[in-house]
Assembly symmetry: D3
Homo-oligomer: 151 residues x 6
């Protein structure tokens, strides 16, 4: 593990570090996060879930789209081509758990993509529930797992 | 307070609700969130903070830019023209606290913009510290305050 | 009705025409389009429609998001702030009909936004069905109605 | 040919399918579409065509740019790097025919990029002619050909 | 004229300044810039100019599109809705002069939009000529005029 | 060196040229440009430079982000994945010099990315100083060096 910040050079100036010398590997990352909701809100989502306008589907789609745009949002992130993104939102007792798995064949890890997918999925749920719930909190957004496999 | 989801119609189908009939008001919102870091990581940021490549400045800039793009990221958010965005990242004992205030003159609230500014600022810190800290968690992202004032 | 192309000046050079002198009005437009599918494909969508991963919901969301980005895609379109976008995809005997209604309070019409919403919704259905149907055709994309009302 | 929708998993939930295991090949696709115009409109475009502000050039450029952004517009499309995009708009008796060829070296086909290039080129023509022609219809947008060649 | 940097607060921290209290006015700005080219390159552009694939038209379109996206590119720029953008590229003896006029009804000036339109138009010419000219320089990019008129 | 414009075909029509047959190489480019400022403005930036809200850091970050989006801004530029971007802004006697180095492993050069990084960094400085300096000029934007190395 590094003991210094990798995005700043010796003079402390920011840059997008060179990953060109790294080997191409299959990179996978999974992140998750939670949005705490009132019981009433959970019930409304569950009810809607079986109708046509699915709150969870919309959040999942928003998360997938955001994961693909991570390098536009996070200034020092490298561009990459995800071979897979999967965002899953599941109703829990007191909120919704969002999980995102991203994968690419590349020279740099994909945890920022997984985390971005989670964050935008949770914000999308926030947006759709904000008229009915004034106490929502997004919590425990973190990386669950990160892998690299040789091709 | 509404008792039903406003982004789905009677049939449960999603849409971007009509805000055209609402009055233009000065809308302000403030949100905050926290990223928990190891002591060592906090020290590295604090150290860098007085050099040229400022981790917190980069996170603040990323948050401001993301707040302006909220309607691209959150599917059912309305486009609006923010008259002000301020993102502030401050070092705490065990992490960094990000706060975002957004303002517009418009027909719909700006809390999603404030929350998006916070989330992307925190993800940017995550990105810049991920080589030195494997235990980061983003926590307690929530709305602090929301106001509307007549013009 | 004009008898010359409004986006080219006297010398035939393209520009984004000045709409600053026009009055702000409530502008609404509705467009529709159709994607012709095989019977088998229609059945698969209908079947999926009652499960969680809803093809039509995803197409509707994609259409809404694209409508908001019309001015990025169509070079001479003005930026505007839609107060409402509604995309509706309905299964027909031999395909899916997409309808989009867009609205804004502004100085220029919103038919391009409605048409863009329809086109991207239809392309999204194409994308999700392309593994099972090699004969899809997008047809009859047109404006249904356009209105302006004084404030 | 698949007999089920590839973008939904066993539970019917949408995701961006993993293409990481597929071989890299040279992928080419060609799509076309037509915009039906009044005779008067065709004459105006033809006349402008030999002046400086070329309606067809602008439509072609808009199509090329949109093809590069396909994965932002179509939620479950993979990001890819097109090695070539060519959009050609040609005047016909009663309208304009747009053709787009896209190519990449990658693990997934490029027909959505070709179709998106066609659609946005046609919408751009629609935009530039909408002041003079109220009867335009976009028709027969479809894939003409799709190829993959081993490297 | 201000004697301090307006985008940094008392503590020197960057933010997007509040323009909400400013009056809406008609804002216009014109900027220009020049790309110095070899004689041979100027001839090639002039020759192409009377054919179908017009280098100058493409540069003008690219400039218009970039002007609309200024607030995405310049971190502390406010979002605004341009009512007009006009980019004009004219061949000179030893290069191409690009001029951009932008206009909006808003609370903040549009000079950054005009300058961005000029810069991207010039870069587009650079891109299209880089295979034939290795000595291009972009020069003298500046604001020509800036106006505000009461509504 | 080519003697004809590579982005237009025999008929003079624009397209994005096919680079698929080219070999993958390590491509590097460095560009620079200058913004001329009044002495007073240089002093203000230098003063701010040692505080928290660093004008030069913000310009560097804006340049890095823009370099990654070059293919969206320049119509006929190919998409690519930069493995490194470094933007450096240094205070000179009468202005600020911006330098950008970009690198990728790919089939086409990265000079447009380096130039775009420079231009947006300079425009960002312009934006942050425009309240205090009415005589700024962007000058001498050019390519310094371009390399390709076999893998």
């Amino acid at each position: 593990m590094s003991t210094k910040l990798t995005h700043t050079d010796e003079a402390g100036r920011a840059n997008m570090v060179d990953v060109g010398h790294k080997e191409k590997q299959i990179r996978t990352a999974t992140a998750e996060g939670f949005i705490k909701l009132q019981q009433h809100t959970v019930d409304l989502i569950r009810d809607n879930h079986i109708k046509k306008g699915d709150v969870l589907t919309i959040a999942e789609i928003a998360g997938i789209q955001a994961a693909k745009r991570t390098s536009e949002l996070i200034p020092l992130c490298h561009q990459l081509q995800l071979t897979k993104v999967d965002v899953s939102c599941s109703i829990q007792d007191n909120g919704v758990l969002a999980t995102c798995t991203s994968r690419c064949i590349g020279q740099t890890g994909v945890e920022m993509e997984a985390l971005t997918g989670v964050q935008i999925a949770l914000l999308t749920i926030y947006d759709m529930c904000k008229a009915v719930d004034k106490t929502m909190v997004i919590e425990q957004v973190k990386l669950l797992e990160k892998q690299k496999l040789d091709l």
